[in-house]
């Protein structure tokens, strides 16, 4: 009769003699890192948003608009879902160059905001020379107290006391990632700028460097934010606590 100890020892020895082929760990690590770094990062994103990323070459603007609308519709459908339905899932959705990761009320990232890659302080005039898109200044806020250009002209940040407005190139690429739980973002009407999304609570914000970038992406806590799009330029207004005031500022971008 085989004793229990013999059997258990036999199983342990058997386990050690079993051959499980696996690729070199360093290769696996590299493959995983590539997937995490790819601007796609689209593994969990729904199909329309994934198509939106495959930046169209021709007729980009028109198709871009169609795609953005499709994403907006999808967002509307998603956020319009029953509370039970939306609380259960973790979803990744994209709008105006911002990826929203929506799920449970995860912990806010700690740590102080670090500058964006290559961030430099410039004048508004210098900024206009250094970026390829038109920089808008909301008349409601007036002339910014500070202007910074980052990541080789991909992002321009305008500052007023307590308020920050990021404007960024290429709304078809994900530029910022936001991680949030309830309360959920809400759609707001911005007149000629169409629809925007209001994120009413503090949340995690990560800047995703151009081309996927190195390991510079660090999440920081962000204040309530309004995101929208203006003539193909992504806009992210942070630090205005009242949605109506944020809307008025967005509408004053002419």
């Amino acid at each position: 009769m085989t004793s229990s100890d013999d059997l258990e020892a036999g199983l342990l020895a058997l386990g050690e003699s079993l051959d499980v082929p696996s690729p070199p760990p360093a290769d696996v690590a590299r493959a995983v890192r590539e997937r995490l770094e790819s601007p796609a990062g689209a593994d969990r994103s729904p199909a329309p948003a994934r198509r939106a990323r495959g930046a169209p070459r021709s007729g980009a603007r028109l198709r871009g608009r169609v795609v953005v609308s499709a994403v907006a519709v999808l967002l509307a459908l998603f956020f319009g879902a029953t509370p039970v339905g939306r609380a259960a899932v973790v979803e990744v959705l994209r709008f105006a160059g911002v990826e929203l990761r929506i799920g449970g009320p995860g912990p806010l990232p700690s740590g102080v905001p670090s500058p964006l890659p290559g961030e430099r302080r410039v004048t508004l005039e210098q900024a206009r020379e250094q970026v390829t898109f038109a920089i808008s200044v909301p008349s409601r806020l007036g002339r910014p107290s500070e202007v910074r250009v980052s990541d080789g002209g991909r992002v321009v940040s305008l500052f007023w006391p307590g308020v920050r407005l990021d404007q960024y190139d290429g709304a078809l690429q994900v530029v910022f990632r936001k991680e949030l739980g309830p309360p959920w973002p809400q759609a707001v009407n911005l007149g000629v700028s169409g629809q925007g999304w209001w994120i009413p609570a503090r949340h995690g914000l990560t800047y995703l460097p151009r081309g996927g970038g190195e390991a510079t992406a660090r999440a920081r806590p962000a204040d309530p934010t309004l995101i929208w799009q203006r003539k193909g330029v992504g806009m992210r207004l942070e630090g205005v606590d009242d949605v109506h005031e944020a809307q008025r500022i967005a509408r004053s971008v002419l």
Partner: protein
């Protein structure tokens, strides 16, 4: 001799030295630290996926699991061990795969030519190999629930608590399934010896 904190400080300049540090750095966006974590657990993750039924798709399962683990790292409780948390994701991915394929989770592994201490005569080696092959067959034919408990406890050498976490079961259930699995194996082995 250097005081401890200086040693730690020196080490921290290079690759992350323990899971907690690697996780902290990964959470801060340091993908090189996460790469180190992936490298550390890659082989065990493949072993787990293959033994829980991912078969030749273990590589896909493991990559997916590591990507998901990174994305959910914020939900990982830092005072808990990382290994069973990661393997739970691997087990989950494996389960999703086998379920989507509508197939039974087979134990797909091969016996290797194990090293034998010198002095053994070829006949003894053959007998030992044969005994292993029979035991493996017996494990393969266990009911899936019992087999997974036995695989985790003996082939992956996880503790009862780790097994419970990886298979998402109460510890008591792990104990009883392991016990029943062992009893069944004992019967099989005894039958072979007759």
């Amino acid at each position: 001799m250097l005081p401890c904190c200086e040693i730690c400080h020196d080490i921290r300049e290079g690759a992350p030295t323990d899971d907690d540090e690697a996780i902290a750095r990964s959470l801060a966006g340091d993908l090189a630290a996460y790469e180190a974590l992936v490298t550390r657990y890659s082989t065990l993750a493949h072993r787990t996926a293959a033994m829980l039924g991912a078969g030749d798709e273990a590589e896909d399962v493991v990559q997916e699991a590591f990507v998901k683990a990174y994305r959910h790292l914020g939900t990982f409780r830092r005072d808990a061990p990382f290994r069973p948390w990661l393997l739970r994701i691997v087990a989950n991915e494996t389960h999703n795969l086998t379920r989507s394929r509508g197939r039974r989770a087979e134990l797909v592994v091969k016996l290797t030519e194990a090293d034998h201490p010198g002095g053994e005569v070829p006949e003894d080696v053959a007998v030992a190999t044969d005994r292993r092959a029979r035991l493996l067959d017996a494990v393969r034919t266990l009911p899936e629930r019992e087999r997974q408990a036995v695989v985790c406890r003996y082939f992956l050498q996880l503790s009862e608590a780790e097994t419970a976490q990886v298979l998402d079961l109460p510890v008591g259930t792990v104990k009883s399934r392991t016990f029943r699995g062992l009893a069944r194996l004992r019967e099989e082995v005894a039958r072979d010896l007759i």
